[in-house]
């Protein structure tokens, strides 16, 4: 792939994989100089790609405590020793989460197992919470980061059973949430009141990019090369607005593929 270093053309479908497209689509969500909270895996690829392309001044915060590390080797998790290489500060969770709550973060990349039309995400349990079919990893920082970041981008697997009318458990808050202790459904703005800062802005899957309208309802923005509106609809479990679809997601360039495989993840930790 070394020959792709200076090739800024759009790659042909046979030259890239879905995960490459996801990393690149994620990277495009980052503006320069932003402070970005990112989790393990694809988020790391996406933000690091952004730093190598449109957002060289973006800072990555990992919840284990590293701030704007510039890893020489891709970390395998947010707690990895590689995260703090050339970091501005490396401390711990109390510090970075306090900064989050104070309002110092601009955006975040997160994952999820299930999502509903309002962007409510489940990473806790499938089935009845009190007697689950499948216990998942749990909230981690997903709820917290999504609660208080102005913009959150979810990167997820697209399946009909994951894009649900109602998720089995709301781990992470979308645009319409339950106002506890009453449990009444309210807008995110109402639930967070003066602490409202924004919310889920995009969902990037293996098939498409979704965004949210002014009522916080998910719509199709672009579908990936190889997919189409119908295929996307078949893999969404709720009624999806496709009227605003802008067409195909822009594929990666060869230069971006070069970066991904030779600079960002040459060891093949997340891509191979």
């Amino acid at each position: 792939m070394l020959q792709w270093k200076e090739n800024y053309e759009i790659a042909k479908p046979e030259d890239y994989k879905t995960i490459d497209l996801l990393a690149v689509a994620g990277a495009r969500e980052v503006s320069d100089m932003e402070v970005v909270f990112a989790g393990t895996g694809l988020p790391m690829l996406a933000v690091t790609m952004a730093q190598h392309t449109g957002a060289p001044g973006a800072s990555i915060i990992y919840e284990a405590g590293s701030m704007d590390g510039r890893p020489a080797h891709l970390p395998a998790s947010v707690g990895d020793a590689r995260c703090e290489h050339k970091a501005s500060v490396a401390s711990g969770l109390f510090d970075v989460f306090n900064q989050l709550q104070k309002g110092s973060m601009d955006m975040a990349f997160l994952g999820g197992a299930e999502i509903d039309r309002y962007g409510n995400v489940n990473t806790t349990a499938i089935g009845d919470y009190l007697n689950p079919t499948m216990r998942l990893a749990g909230s981690g920082g997903n709820s917290d980061i999504n609660s208080l970041c102005p913009r959150t981008v979810f990167i997820m697997v697209q399946e009909k059973r994951r894009f649900k009318e109602n998720v089995d458990y709301i781990t992470s808050p979308g645009w319409r949430v339950k106002d506890w202790p009453s449990g009444k459904w309210v807008s995110r703005q109402k639930a967070y009141g003066s602490m409202y800062r924004g919310g889920p802005s995009a969902v990037i899957t293996n098939m498409a990019v979704f965004r949210f309208d002014e009522n916080g309802i998910m719509y199709l923005d672009t579908f990936h090369p190889g997919a189409d509106i119908e295929k996307v609809k078949e893999n969404v479990g709720f009624d999806l607005n496709t009227a605003w679809c802008r067409g195909e997601t822009a594929p990666p360039t060869y230069h971006e593929l070069y970066l991904l495989y030779n600079v960002i993840d040459p060891e093949g930790i997340f891509i191979a």
């Binding site: 284990a64 405590g65 080797h73 395998a76 998790s77 707690g79 020793a81 590689r82 703090e84 290489h85 490396a90 401390s91 711990g92 969770l93 109390f94 989460f97 989050l100 709550q101 806790t124 349990a125 919470y129 009190l130 007697n131 689950p132 079919t133 216990r135 990893a137 749990g138 909230s139 981690g140 920082g141 997903n142 709820s143 917290d144 609660s147 208080l148 458990y169 709301i170 781990t171 808050p173 949430v177 339950k178 106002d179 506890w180 202790p181 449990g183 309210v186 995110r188 639930a191 967070y192 009141g193 003066s194 602490m195 993840d265 040459p266 060891e267 093949g268 930790i269 997340f270 191979a272």
Partner: protein, 328 residues
Amino acid sequence: MSTGKDKLMTVPEAVSKFVRDGDMLTFSGFTIWRRPMAVVYEIVRQQKKDLHLVEVNSGTHGEVLIGAGCVKIWESSFMGHELYGKIGANLSRKVSNDEILVEDYSHVHMVYRLAAGAMGVPFLPTYCALGTDILNPEYDVLGRAGFRDGSNPRIPAQKFGYQEDKFYGGQKVLNVPAASPNVCIAHVQQVGDEGTVKVKGQRYTDSEAMKAADKLVVVAEEIVPEEVIRQEPNDNLIPHYLVDAIVEQPWGAHPTGCFGCYEVDGEFIRDFYSKTKTQEGFDAWAEEWITKVSDFNEYLNKLGFNHLDNLRVNTAMNYSLRVKRGAK
């Protein structure tokens, strides 16, 4: 406060002296980093029961304790082995079988619960996770099980509290209850011979966890003279007078990683995770790696020199440049 010499002990001594059935425990580290595995294995060996884990997040250490049936209650925000196992399969199975009580909080909730414990206050306020099912009163598992009646002074009467902010405009605030475990078991790089603790690399929630607990057991890669560790007091995390037990156990966090010392043993954890998919699988694994080895040094020897030495870090980078991590 005790002197350094009183505090010095072995892993088995630390477990038998400081970990009792029914205790609330917390740990150093983050998912698969700097977990006190030598002590965790010894807890299994000594067959401690009814433990109540309260931790910011869990990982391989938690899966060992849960798989072995040592844990009655688990309060946390996350269980998994990162890249080497997406969920905790022992936890998952035991939740479905009603063999463990799980109380879910968010990451910030758990950090703040231990921070409150460390600060000596009964709660801390936060805005995190408003609108989520974490706050759903139907999902107050300890409450449903009747544990919020005050009979256990370490279990709060409520899972959460709410109040209005009367200072700046009336916004609703969530209060999370303090957590003050009986014991924190920590694995660190260095401890002074009187107990001063130095942690290298990211500190995760070590400070909050260690200070929240009534008793603090510190396992270190090496015990060093206090006069040396005190040359840079700004670099130290915990003063000696807060430390109750000092244990030297090199590689004591294996298979989790230890900044500046050794890498995560991903291969070992991936194998462990695959075994945990059934109870029988875990039991066989535990027999092989815990109960059939007499102590942690025998475990290390069983792993073998070449395997471990391959995990040793490059000291310029604080992580390994030799271990194979990805597909290439």
